[in-house]
């Protein structure tokens, strides 16, 4: 018999914080390791093989330890306070995204009524941190990188919001749990075309939002070193660049899985598939999305900043705007027509 446990609101909050702080770094390590290995195998090499013994599984721990030992340098002319604060402004939102992602029907930290709204808002906050980092570094490369990141955010936040709006229209709710519940068939498959296009737009815009190739101009190492993080070193570099990048990668993969692949629901509504627990479905779908993001990186060259803007404003945004009209028409007329 399970003893009845009653917890006060504070205790629940502490448990939730503990869970999040345990899960996010774990996910980041796993995804970071996957990035090493997936990229290596796509490029005819083995990637890390030695740290930890088995296929270099401990490479990121070793990497982290290395960064821990490095000197923490703040440039003399930098704005010290903003420079240090920027790390938190980038790192904290990356963790907070995970609060509303429904891993299973009841496995969610906070089921907000405006979950998707919160998600999109919080994931953009880190750009303020990037701007802070770029401005306070007293480095021209950092400044260029920060401005590129700012421009990119404005251009690519819109397609993400608009494609999420399509999902909201189709499901009729802003709550992520309700959105998943609305997907007996994942939106990727049904309604035909609409969900697929929205998914493609979302994926492309996410890659830009994550500043990963081919949209990695804000941190393009062959042009502007590491963009806004050029002057960051040691643990500061990890927590302002590497960790949030991978954490956001997993977060966006999870968002994509939730919005378009049906989250914790089976991929097709078959009774047999119900046996598999929801969090397994969710993990599989997230892993698929992570792989998709990792696959894109070694495949494409980098676009130029103006080409990227053109792509966003002339292709993605008009497409999603048209898609919203189509989705509206579908929501209005399709249920009667198909009945």
């Amino acid at each position: 018999m399970i003893p009845e446990i009653t917890l006060t609101a504070w205790q629940i909050l502490l448990v939730k914080i503990g869970v999040i702080l345990a899960i996010v770094p774990t996910m980041t390590l796993v995804a970071g390791y996957a990035e090493h290995k997936v990229m290596a195998h796509l490029q005819h090499r083995l990637g890390p093989m030695y740290p930890g013994g088995f296929h270099g599984w401990a490479v990121l721990l070793a990497d982290g330890l290395k960064f821990l030992y490095k000197e923490d340098i703040i440039p003399e002319r930098a704005d010290r306070r903003v420079f240090s604060l920027a790390t938190f402004a980038i790192f904290v939102p990356a963790v907070m995204v995970y609060l509303v992602i429904p891993v299973d029907r009841s496995l969610i930290v906070e089921d907000l009524d405006v979950g998707i709204f919160y998600l999109l808002a919080i994931s953009s906050v880190s750009t303020i941190g990037i701007l802070m980092a770029g401005w306070s570094s007293a480095n021209k490369y950092a400044l260029i990188g920060a401005l590129r990141a700012g421009a990119q955010l404005i251009a690519y936040e819109l397609p993400i919001v608009l494609s999420a709006a399509v999902v909201v229209m189709l499901s009729g709710s802003l709550s992520l749990v309700d959105i998943v519940e609305a997907q007996n068939w994942p939106f990727l498959i049904w309604p035909p075309g609409i969900g697929l296009i929205a998914f493609l737009v979302f994926t492309m815009a996410s890659v830009a939002e994550l500043t990963r190739p081919p949209f990695d101009m804000p941190v393009a190492e062959s042009e502007i070193i590491t963009g806004a993080f050029t002057e960051y070193s040691g643990m500061r570099f990890i927590f302002s660049f590497f960790f949030p990048e991978v954490a956001n990668l997993v977060a966006f993969a999870a968002i994509g899985a939730t919005l378009f692949l049906g989250g914790y629901q089976p991929i097709v509504p078959l009774g047999v598939l119900e046996v598999i627990p929801g969090f397994v479905w969710f993990t599989l779908k997230t892993a698929f999305m992570v792989f998709l993001f990792l696959w894109i990186r070694p495949t494409f060259p980098r676009l130029r900043e103006d080409q990227l803007q053109k792509f966003a404003w002339k292709v993605l945004i008009p497409v999603t705007l048209a898609l919203i009209l189509v989705a509206g028409a579908w929501v209005l007329y399709a249920p009667e027509a198909l009945r």
Binding site: Q43, S222, E223, P301, R304, E305, D306, Q307
Partner: protein
């Protein structure tokens, strides 16, 4: 006034000093030092950039951060020993440096290289050209963000370097040629690795092309970027793939044949656009042509001596030292003093992967060069960079540098 003329005028006006005087803080331009330590400046090239937002208003290459004094070093070496120094200039085209230096010494001495020696040297430099172009391919792709390219390029480069190691004992800085031929004959069993390279290379070049040539992002990033006209190439002395991509049909291998080139047939690829993509195409075809040249040389490799056996120039073999007093004397003279070369001056030129590589050599009749000056194509081609990047964006600048393929060891010497 063309862009090239403006750039030339600006250089003549006094370079950096003139730049500082013309600086006006009110125009809100950003002055930025790209390099000497920067991931995409191919070593230690420093570019003084003036940016308006991301548009390059002005670009001045600053060199000298890898100055090694090799030209001066040659004056302290004997004629044969200087090969070891010149091979370290353009470290990706090491055998070309050796070849052009040896050709210069040979024409001062007035000696001939036996046919097998010529064939070996030509074969080795053509492999070196492929190797150098593979590094260019990798870095060009990497600088445009296609990071996989570098792994593909270096995969095949490794085979060629292994072959170099087999033949010369070293992967780079081989010191394999010497005035009069090549140090050693090709080793036993060199045929297998060489035919393996020749067999797989065309397919692998197809693979690179499949990877990048028609990638829409790559096309977008390279077509019309960093363009330079044929006239500007002539004006600025640009040679090699840069000039050929701009429509200048000039290749020293074909137009002033040397070594074994008269005996092989090959095409010289040219393009008209003069942009980064045209240079990409020209270099890709050049790799294929080099494979063909190596194939022909390999099949027609003549027997005989691999070097000029004049005992006054070449140290005698070990076996000969044991039985001939004369050989011991020659050996002693060559190893202590070296041979002397008749007084005079000479210019020899070869087509290196980057363009015309020339060696101007002066002898005062002594046992070491009086002056050894190398016209390195990286150095000369670099002055066309400001023309290419004028009014482009920073990202175009990176693409242009990569397509120039400068080796800073060659630029600074």
């Amino acid at each position: 006034m063309t862009t090239a003329e403006r750039v030339v005028e600006r250089f003549e006006a006094g370079g950096h000093g003139a730049y500082v005087e013309s600086y006006d803080p009110r125009d809100e331009h950003m002055t930025i030092n790209m390099g000497p330590v920067h991931p995409a400046t191919h070593g230690v090239l420093r570019l003084l950039l003036e940016l308006d937002g991301e548009t390059v208003i002005r670009c001045e290459p600053k060199i000298g951060y890898l100055h090694t004094g090799i030209e001066k070093e040659c004056e302290d070496q004997n004629w044969r020993g200087a090969v070891t120094a010149v091979t370290r200039m353009d470290y990706l085209a090491q055998l070309f440096n050796e070849q052009v230096y040896c050709m210069a010494v040979e024409s001062l001495l007035g000696i001939e290289v036996p046919p097998r020696g010529k064939y070996i040297r030509t074969l080795m430099v053509e492999l070196n050209r492929i190797q150098s172009h593979l590094v260019w391919f990798g870095t060009q792709a990497l600088d445009l963000g296609a990071m996989s390219g570098v792994f593909y390029g270096f995969r095949e480069r490794e085979l060629i370097l292994d072959f170099f190691e087999m033949v010369t004992g070293l992967r780079m800085n081989n010191g394999y040629f010497l005035p009069g031929g090549a140090w050693e004959d090709l080793p036993d069993g060199y045929e297998r690795p060489l035919s393996k390279i020749l067999e797989i290379m065309p397919g692998r070049i197809d693979e690179y092309e499949a990877l990048i040539s028609e990638n829409p992002i790559f096309l977008e990033r390279t077509i019309g970027v960093g363009a330079i006209s044929k006239e500007d190439c002539l004006r600025l002395g640009a040679t090699g793939p840069i000039a050929r991509a701009a429509g200048l049909d000039w290749d020293i291998r074909r137009d002033m044949p040397y070594e074994a080139y008269p005996e092989v047939t090959f095409d010289v690829p040219t393009a008209e656009a003069g942009d980064v993509y045209a240079r990409y195409q020209v270099r890709m075809v050049e790799m294929r042509e080099s494979v063909k040249i190596v194939q022909q040389l390999f099949e027609a490799m003549p027997p005989g001596d691999h070097k000029n056996m004049d005992p006054k120039l070449m140290p005698p073999s070990r076996a000969e030292l044991n039985r001939s007093m004369e050989a011991v004397i020659h050996h002693f003279k060559l190893m202590t003093q070296g041979y002397s070369v008749p007084a005079g001056e000479v210019y020899a030129a070869v087509e290196s992967p980057r363009g015309e590589l020339g060696c101007y050599l002066v002898s005062d009749g002594g046992t070491s060069p009086y002056r050894c000056h190398v016209r390195d194509p990286s150095f000369v081609n670099l002055q066309s960079l400001p023309v290419m990047v004028q009014d482009g964006m920073v990202a175009d600048l990176i693409a242009s540098i990569a397509s120039l393929d400068p080796v800073l060891g060659g630029v600074d010497r």
